[in-house]
Symmetry: C2
Subunit: 337 residues, 2 copies
Amino acid sequence: MSFTIKDVAKKANVSIATVSRIINNKPGYSKETEEKVLQVIEELGYHPNSIARGLINKRTHTIGVLVPKLSSMIITEFIRGIEDITHHNGSSVIVCHTESNGKKTMKYLQLLYEKQVDGIIFVSEELKEEYYQFINRMKIPIVLLSTETYQFPVPYVKVNDQHAAFSATEFLIKKGHRNIGMVSGNKEDMVAGQSRINGFMQAMKHYQLPVSEKHFVSESGFGFDDGRNGLPRLMKQYPDITAVFAASDEIAFGILSSAYTMKINVPEQLSVIGYDNLSIAEMSIPPLTTVAQPLVEMGEMATKMILEIINTNQKVESKIVAHRIVERESVRDLTNE
Amino acid sequence: MSFTIKDVAKKANVSIATVSRIINNKPGYSKETEEKVLQVIEELGYHPNSIARGLINKRTHTIGVLVPKLSSMIITEFIRGIEDITHHNGSSVIVCHTESNGKKTMKYLQLLYEKQVDGIIFVSEELKEEYYQFINRMKIPIVLLSTETYQFPVPYVKVNDQHAAFSATEFLIKKGHRNIGMVSGNKEDMVAGQSRINGFMQAMKHYQLPVSEKHFVSESGFGFDDGRNGLPRLMKQYPDITAVFAASDEIAFGILSSAYTMKINVPEQLSVIGYDNLSIAEMSIPPLTTVAQPLVEMGEMATKMILEIINTNQKVESKIVAHRIVERESVRDLTNE
DNA sequence: TTGTACGCGTTATCAT
DNA sequence: ATGATAACGCGTACAA
């Protein structure tokens, strides 16, 4: 019941070459034969086998996406942008979650190579030497999303984390806050850990505010629980605090939740600013003020970049995208009081 | 730089047949040649081309997933379950979002056929005749997830919506609530619309509580905004209300948000129960009491089913999975007061 | 304008 | 135990 180009050719009394030309719009056939063939295709419900096509064209119209974990909401938003563009482009996507595990990553890299993906988008994770070597050897185009590298000639799209963290902290300061803490993610995290901390410190110093150990709580990740656990610790070591900068929106949600159970009102007693602007940031109580990364657009941009590399076989420029503060209701303004 | 089985064969001084046997563990070679070949494979960094494999084996180890839209959180959780199992099984997934659009769905169905997916998981959407005919003609195995069909012989996995809605309503009643409203999604929605309403009504009747028009607000979808808009309308047409059943967690979050801006305390003044138990249900303020569908497990089950169909070429049984109430803090207990 | 025949990288069949 | 070769479905150079 599954027809091939041969079946079409036979039934239309032409050669497979002619059928091939017709379905690929290559010149070399008359109007009449075209009509006849098209009709046969319709009758048979024939669709070309893109596996066979891929074998000969060396293009599978599939791109691979490597993400640390699927459960993180930020990843979901990136993927939205990625899938939008690829599908618009007649391509599809294979998503692999590496769980930040080197072995798993290598396994997936091999899988993607074996499936002959046209390119890879590598998301929110450090591009280790081992990964790069493999990708380079296999000559798979790659672009980095929300992570960068100085070591290898690989284009990326991301925001300037340190700058964005500076902005967030500055926002708090300009709202009159002086006692500001930070719940950071994993410090060791090359991608988002240290640079956000740096941005925070830089802002504090720039506005001549003291910074010390007590200003920080460094949790193991960027998730809800990290925020949930982080706030009590921060409050304990720094009771005077009036505002906190969360290194991610998910951390911020955890802080909100924690504050709720501790009967601390946000923003009356404690201001919270997040980082990411997940789509659910407007759904929290209170709606979360946060530093917006244009997540979906970033996914789109990375995809356009990889497609361009694939299509033109040329290098493309990395892109630093602009962040902005989205002011909602989780930060109290102390200045006009 | 990209090696084929021929390169390996040549360098190891054996035939490609032997190499093929070795990488596929088919008997027919000596220990020595095996070692030699394996070493060459290692040196060259050779990986078999699964496109070529797919062409001859008629197995691509890829399964297609059709979802209505990617932004819905419930879909994300299904996909988590699906990807877990497929990847564990050496397969990968292509996700396509149809936006509940018939034309787009057909387009993706063709895409998936052309990519020769081994099977399809069709999620949260009505299986229209046109879809079924295509899938049937192309002989692609399929299973339905969170949707069902009486019309066609297609296995599915879902919860009993009406029963679950009954349970949710009953839960409210047993907590002492009498004036209960419902914010339902789209009534026309074959998948989740009417049956949840039916369950609600059935429970009300069973406990001899009145039900009328004023008990319902029917929004256009199952999202946050639908809940956000629905609550004010419901409060207006039914001011005595003490509890509300939301047809989805996202609706419930909207209700929570709406209540917050209207300065209605949850659960002191208004109780809310949701439906789905999204992973963020525990992150809301207050944490959401809800009817749990085991979303990730459902995705896993559907995947196991499709894999079984693919592997054994036999039919499998549909599964109705158990729901349960997850009690958190959004429902007030009126009975012991 | 149209057809023949080879090749893409692999597996499977049949020899040897 | 090993090798030659057909086949998978398609695109394309070349021939007609």
